[in-house]
Amino acid sequence: MATGPRSGPPDRPPGSAPDITHHKKRYGERLALLGLGGSAALSVGITIAIVVALVRPSIDFFREVSFSEFLTGTRWAPTFADADFGVLPLITGTLWTTFIGLTIAVPLGLGAAIYLSEYAHDRVRKILKPVLEILAGIPSVVYGYFALYFVAPVLLKDLLNLEVGTFSVLAAGLVLGVMIIPTVASLSEDAMSAVPQALRQGSYALGANRMRTTLRVVFPAAISGITASIVLGLSRAVGETMIVALAAGTRAQIVTAPTGNGQTMTGFIAQTATGESSPGSLTYNTLFAVGLLLFVITLIINLIAASIVRRIREVY
C-alpha cells in the first residue's frame, strides 16, 4: 500500500465520508469570494450612504428652520425674501398627482391583469404583453412631454372642454397613472397566474361561471401579490419626477381642485436643482430636507407593503 500523503485511503474510520473540503488553502479563491461578498455588502453601504447624504444637509436645514414649521406650515416659498418653509403645499401636490394616478392605474391595471391571466387566448397574450412592456419602457420624460403637449391642451382643454391651464395636477396625474399601469398589471398578472388551476376547477365544478370564479376565487387567492403591485405603483407615483416637473406646474400652493397648478415634492427638487444652488446654501439644504421626507415616505410605504404581504400571503 502506498504511503504518500495524497495517495491511498487516508486514515479515517471505515464508513465515514472522506474529508475533501480542507485539502489546501486557496488564498486566491478566498480573495475572490471576499470580492463577491463585498459587492453584495456594497448594496447595504449604498443605503447607509443615502441616509448620510440626505441627513447631513438636512441637519443644517433644521438648524435654521424649526421641525414644526417645516411639517405644519402652509406656505412654501423657500427662495423668497420673506421665506417660508411649510412643506404642506408640496405634500398636497404629491397627494393629488398620486391619487389621480392610482385612480387610473389600479382599475385599468387590474383589468388588464385579469384579462391577460384569466381570459386572453395565448395568441392575444403574446401580442398584448409586449405592448405593456413597451409602455413600461418609455422614459418618464417622454410621458411628461405627452402630458404637457397632448393631454393638457388637446385632450383636457379641446376635447373635454375643461378649464385647465398649461400646468395642472390633473394632466400630470392622468399620465402618471398610464405610466404605472404596466407595474400594476404585470405584477398582478404574475400573482393571478400563480393561483393553482385546481382552485378554478373546483369553482367551476360548483357551478360558478368565469366572472364569479375570477372575482371570488382567483382574486382573493392572489390578493397578497395584487396588494404588493398596487403599493409598488403607489411608491413609484410618489417618487416620479419628470412628469410632474414638466406638467404639474411650479407654483407651490395648497391644491384645492385637480385642474389647479401645483408643485409636488419631486417637482420642487427638480426645479430647484436645475437652478443655481451652491452646496451649503440654505436652498441646497432645503432640497435635501425635502428629499429626506420623500425617502422616509417611500420607505414607510414599502415597509407597510412588506408586512401586509407577509401577513396575508397564501402559500400553495
Binding site: 381570459y119 419602457g137 418618464s140 405627452f146 411608491s235 417618487g239 420623500l294
Partner: protein, 298 residues
C-alpha cells in the same frame, strides 16, 4: 388528469358556464376597455411624438449643438454623445458589481445568516427608492470626495447606483435557473466551488444576465431625474471627451427643450424623443434577440 388540466387552461365555451349573463358580459367589456385603453394610449403617444417631431428629424439634429437663440437649427449632438459616454461608464460600474453581488447571494450566501438576510431586505428596499434620491446621493458623494458634480463620471455613478439592484436581481434569476446537476457534476470532477461558478454556472447564465443588463441600461438611458441633481447640465455646446468632462444627455436635453415655451423647441424636443425611442427599441430588440437565440432551456 392531463386532459382536465389542459382543458381548464383553455378558454371554455361561454354558454355552458353561464358566461352569457348581463353581468358577465359587462365585466368582460370592462376588461377589454382596460386593455384597449393601454394600447390606445401607447398608439396616441407614439403618433403624437412622430407628428410633432417629423419636421425636425433632419441632419442638424445629429450634427449641431443646442442653442438658446436659434431653436430652428438646434441639435442634440452633445446630448447623444453625452448619453453614450454616461451609459458606457454606467455599464462598466454596474455590470461587474451587480453580477458579483448576484452570484454571491445565489451561490455562496447562507440565507440563514443575519447579514445575508439584511442584504436581501435591503435590496428590495433599494429597488423602490425614487430615482431622484440616487441623484442626491451622488451629489452628496461627489461633494465629500471633492469630485465636480457635473462631469461624466458623476453621471455614470448616479445611473449605476440606480440600476445596480435591477442587475443583481436579473443575475440571481438567471443563476438560479441553471440546474443543480451541472454544479454537482463539476464539483464531483474535483472543481472547487469558485471554479464551478466561473466555468459552468456563470457561462450558462450569461444570456439571461445579458438580457437583464441591456434592459437595465435602456432604463438608465431614458432616466433624467437623478442627473438633474448634478446641476447645470443643459448648456453644453461641446463634445464630452473624458470622464471629467461636462456633459448632457438625451432625456435631460429633451426636458430642457420641452420646458421652453416656443413651438420650435417643442418640435426639436419631440424629434429628440423619436431618436431616443428608436435607440431604446433597438436595445430592447437586442435583449429579446439574445433571450430567444442563446437562452438555454434545460
Amino acid at each position: 388528469m392531463a386532459t382536465i388540466g389542459s382543458l381548464a387552461g383553455q378558454p371554455m365555451r361561454a354558454e355552458r358556464y353561464g358566461d352569457r349573463s348581463f353581468g358577465s358580459i359587462a365585466f368582460l367589456i370592462a376588461l377589454w376597455a382596460a386593455v384597449g385603453f393601454a394600447v390606445l394610449t401607447l398608439g396616441v403617444l407614439l403618433v403624437d411624438s412622430m407628428l410633432d417631431g417629423a419636421v425636425r428629424l433632419d441632419g442638424a439634429l445629429f450634427t449641431r449643438y443646442s442653442s438658446q437663440i436659434l431653436p430652428e437649427t438646434a441639435g442634440a449632438r452633445a446630448a447623444i454623445l453625452g448619453s453614450a459616454w454616461v451609459i458606457a461608464v454606467t455599464a462598466t460600474l454596474a455590470i461587474p458589481l451587480g453580477v458579483a453581488a448576484g452570484v454571491y447571494l445565489e451561490e455562496f450566501a447562507d440565507p440563514k445568516r443575519w447579514y445575508n438576510k439584511l442584504i436581501e431586505v435591503n435590496l428590495t428596499n433599494l429597488a423602490a427608492v425614487p430615482a431622484i434620491v440616487y441623484g442626491m446621493l451622488t451629489a452628496g458623494l461627489a461633494l465629500s470626495i471633492g469630485l465636480e458634480r457635473r462631469v461624466v463620471l458623476a453621471g455614470g455613478i448616479a445611473l449605476a447606483l440606480l440600476i445596480l439592484p435591477v442587475i443583481i436581481i436579473a443575475t440571481r434569476e438567471s443563476v438560479r435557473a441553471v440546474p443543480q446537476e451541472i454544479r454537482d457534476g463539476s464539483l464531483a470532477l474535483g472543481a472547487t466551488p469558485l471554479q464551478t461558478v466561473w466555468r459552468q454556472t456563470l457561462p450558462s447564465a450569461v444570456p439571461g444576465i445579458a438580457t437583464g443588463a441591456i434592459l437595465a441600461l435602456s432604463r438608465a438611458l431614458g432616466e433624467a431625474a437623478p442627473l438633474l441633481l448634478l446641476g447645470g447640465l443643459v448648456f453644453v455646446n461641446y463634445d464630452p471627451d473624458g470622464l471629467f468632462s461636462g456633459f448632457t444627455t438625451l432625456p435631460i436635453q429633451i426636458f430642457n427643450w420641452a420646458s421652453q415655451p416656443q413651438l420650435a423647441f417643442q418640435q426639436v424636443a419631440s424629434a429628440a424623443i423619436i431618436v431616443m425611442l428608436i435607440l431604446l427599441l433597438m436595445m430592447n430588440a437586442l435583449a429579446i434577440f439574445i433571450r430567444n437565440r442563446y437562452q438555454k432551456r434545460w
